[in-house]
Symmetry: D2
Subunit: 349 residues, 4 copies
């Protein structure tokens, strides 16, 4: 019963097979092979326009290089207070931008609230150089707490970005989970809503190591080849990433995997709703379920082999949990089985 | 007939299989899985002592983080003039060290000459802060031009390093090829000869993407976990690197693969020696053969499907080639077949 | 009637004279002259122990290099939410530390509250590398809003720092103003209370450009000569900074100047207290007075030649001002005359 | 008899006086004062066009921020092998550009040879990302060894720069000495010959601390205000730099001071030419004289109070000195007196 994270899962068999098929023979290195080109074209089709796509090794790399591509001296990027870039990347975004700052913006449900965004931006008046200068806005879809931005919510933030002349980045470590939850096309959830750059994650949803940085305006990415190489993220045998994407994006496998993960989360949600020993922290939309249980129960569950992480309550919900309670995060993935969920619900009582 | 680079090869079947076997199930992320621990222990045995080992995604990452771990303000690292870190990493070592400089040291055969090393170090007298301060010495084994340092040559450089209080790094992108050429144990070619840190490469010798940064003094690596994470090189599903190493290092597969690559290079060398249309640039020791041919012949070979790179003559050999000649590099790998070599030699005439 | 900032003042005649006296002749460059050495010794006497002192050009440089000297990968420095390093240095501290983060800590009166500090530190558990690692605590004395830490308040923060193994830095841009307000010796307000490094500012209190970075443990500063030079802060004719300090620290001139500035602030405070058109934002302790007036009155004052800055109310005091009101900051300096204050108070009505 | 460096001199009385005059009263901080504006306008007149000018504290800062303003990922800047940026700035240019590399270009007389420049640039073919990408060319005028580029030499390098789309920077730490030696106008020696950015130094020629970064295309400097502030080079009381420039540039004082320094160098040259115990290393054009003497004589001179630096022979002149000889550098300045020179020549014998 592993609900620690979707990155505890392995690799989907179809992806593993494609990788094995590519193992033989020779192919040009550093992104020039046929399968590299094929997958680049797949991305064009996926997003219904020509995009500039760059494979990298980790989600942290994708996010950091996205910011590096729009870097400015004294730059500040606005992101939600609990964003992965702030909480879990050990300062990589700041490192790759030589110290550009991440400014936390408050908002409920793990999302930037547009009004708070405007207030924070207003703290950086044009030409007041002492404060630094805005350089980007970044949103996470799905968010760190499993919620999603609706299209009009993205559009509202994109309007602010456009008004300020700022690029809008989307951290899509769980892009697929959000996409199927909202039943949108990739284009609708991104550039049609005003997004400029996405970190397109596949690792958490069934790959070994496959992340892509996608620019909707290739001109914005003109220095990215150098930025990526200098960042030690240009792999020699890029086939190994391209092959994973090739299988992942084939015949909607990626969407099927995300639908499964989300369905397992709903199954968890339903069980928790029925339980008298647990309650939901907030709504379950993608593949993360947050619930509140007593600390003794948490220990019992762990002793019986359930693996999950305790989670800090969002700063906007300081009263979410009681004294003897904890908030836990349960993450499902393509490899979560219904039996695992049911077993967990049974243990929950 | 692909002799462009050993990174044009794919992956050895035994490594591919091990990866597939690991695809299912769940495992702790970020380096905590059983296979991660198992492989860490394999490295201890390999080097006959306790080492600190860190998996990263590229050789450039390994080299850059090695320098980052010993970084000093105004630091300079001494390496051979044609070193990969200088010529082919797009400034990554400087980037990850925030501007520490690579100082080129001349020497024949792709190797640092100890006397030149001492002259260069002497340009940075203690307490003359304007020049900066020495921070490391880096050698490449096998070198960029396929030659190797003998043990006593490593020891001589290590003695200078020790005398200056500088750590000695070895870029081992082709570590295995050097090791079998010299018929040494990993310990003999590294710490027993005075090396402190190695970039242990496996990608060029049969893996998809498997590089390890190895410290013989774990204390020197105490900040590396943060350095690696901040550098976006901490993969979530590290199993995918560990599994490759697990198969690679099993039952001496890695040495067998390197022996095969080196043998293919010798087969090339012999053919070239017999040819009246080509001559060797210098001795062939590992899996790189450098030879001089006429430009028209080079074109003919390419038209017939031979793939190789033209190479800049080393600065120490300005008279190596004639006016209508070019220097070419032929690289063999674990997947080079004798038939490919023989076909090439036949075309050479 | 200039109350915009103490850096709108010029230079005290005694300091200007000393500078002129030093103008002739020759002296060793880069910090080796006799007056450099003399002033270094003055700092030893001032702090009643041997210190390592480095002259730099700006307060931002002093703060940034202080952090650079204790830099760690993924490092975070804790400072008060409204600290100058966060609000007014355009990302310099992050730049000079290659992306180390400044974590804002809440607290009343412009000061870090120890309990909040501990909560924030607790968000960085040892070995949880994803979050980064604590590297320093920084306090400002006097604070950005003119208040001061009492000795036992410094000691309380220093105890946390010591417990966590973190160096404690003090941004002393207005060190003298705090010192005379508290009637302490330099040693009492710093190392005797647990401070490790200070940015010792003199520019705001009567110099042209004289800032010193002082380390109480010289060993902590062993790389500072390189850090300073690489930061382009090693002046060739350091005499010009040393001479300013020589006059500044002579016969307690610096304390007299700070006492005058503070007295002018008290004179302002008294006038405001008597006025029916203004009220104090909070207590006046050093040379900054914050008061609340109506927006129309602010305009009238400006039209009559009063220069001051509007100020954002501290986030901890969101209800400080009414709808038609603004908070203004009035800063006095060594060159503020009683007549200026009285004239302002008269205009205030 | 101080010939160690022109930065051992102090400040010219006219400059010191102007500084004292500005000491009183109040003025807007951070570059907004009247004298700041006045001097900015003086620069426009000086260069016969509108320029963007930024005061900074050191020559290293000017050079480093010049490169930072044209920074590119994986960028390389071409400069003469013995350039100050390479030899004497402790890695500051690399630091402020986050690791952009300085590529040494050989050439006689301390100058970049155009053909060598083209060979070095050719090592960075477009789109070969592994090598990095050219980002700037930098020349030093007068050079580190006291020679100068003639206008047509500058034009030849500028033509290469233009052809490659690279900005041309001039390190003008001794700008005035070159200008009067060549009898050119500032415009003729810079933008009319194709220079884009200059580090305009005044410290070595009679100021305390006055360096300016001048852009002939203000658009190229649009981020410089942020770059400078983030680099801790925005002084609060910028009057102190502006005042120095105000006096320095007034009624051609700066040219008179440089003419004096150069004349003192000629006086030295003549004495050396007459001496049987010394010979010139190369021609004397500005305010640096290089000569070769025996080691015993050097010791005698030092014992008698002559201060100078031993100098490494240029790599292009390995046979310049004999076994028992040394090369010494003698630098004159605005404050060198004829009597000092004559006394030295007499000691030389």
């Amino acid at each position: 019963m592993i609900f620690a994270s979707d990155n505890w899962s392995g690799v989907h068999p179809a992806i593993s097979s494609r990788l094995s098929e590519q193992a033989g023979g020779f192919a040009p290195a550093y992104g020039s092979s046929e399968i590299d080109k094929k997958v680049e074209n797949t991305f064009n089709q996926l997003f219904e326009r020509e995009v500039a796509v760059f494979f990298v090794g980790t989600g942290t790399a994708a996010n950091s290089l996205a910011l590096a591509s729009v870097n400015r001296p004294g730059g500040v990027t606005f992101c939600q207070r609990e964003a992965h870039m702030i909480e879990d990347e050990c300062g990589a975004p700041e490192f790759f931008t030589h110290g550009a700052r991440l400014v936390p913006v408050d908002g409920d449900d793990g999302k930037i609230h547009p009004q708070n965004l405007q207030s924070e931006i207003a703290r950086f008046p044009p030409d007041f150089i002492h404060a630094g200068q805005p350089m980007a806005i970044s949103i996470t879809q799905a968010t760190e707490i499993g919620t999603v931005y609706l299209v009009d919510e993205i559009e509202e933030i994109a309007a602010i970005a456009k008004d300020q002349g700022l690029p809008l980045h989307m951290d899509g470590a769980r892009f697929a989970n959000a996409l199927v939850a909202l039943n949108l096309s990739p284009a609708e959830m991104t550039w049609k809503a005003g997004v400029d750059i996405i970190s397109f994650g596949a690792t958490k949803n069934g790959c070994w190591c496959a992340e892509a940085l996608v620019f909707f305006d290739p001109q914005m990415a003109r220095d990215l080849p150098y930025i990526r190489k200098r960042a030690a993220q240009l792999f020699s045998k890029t086939r190994f990433i391209a092959s994973q994407f090739d299988a992942y994006l084939n015949e909607n496998l990626w969407l099927d995997l995300a639908r499964h993960a989300n369905a397992m989360a709903q199954r968890l949600r339903q069980g928790i709703t029925r339980s008298k020993n647990a309650r939901l922290g907030w709504q379950t939309i993608t593949n993360e379920v947050f619930c509140i249980i007593s600390r003794p129960l948490a220990c019992q569950l762990q002793q019986k082999g359930v693996i999950f992480h305790e989670w800090n309550p969002p700063r906007s919900k300081p009263d979410l949990i009681g004294d003897a309670e904890i908030l836990i995060r349960l993450v499902t993935s393509f490899s979560t089985q219904p039996g695992h969920v049911d077993q967990f619900i049974e243990l929950l009582g």
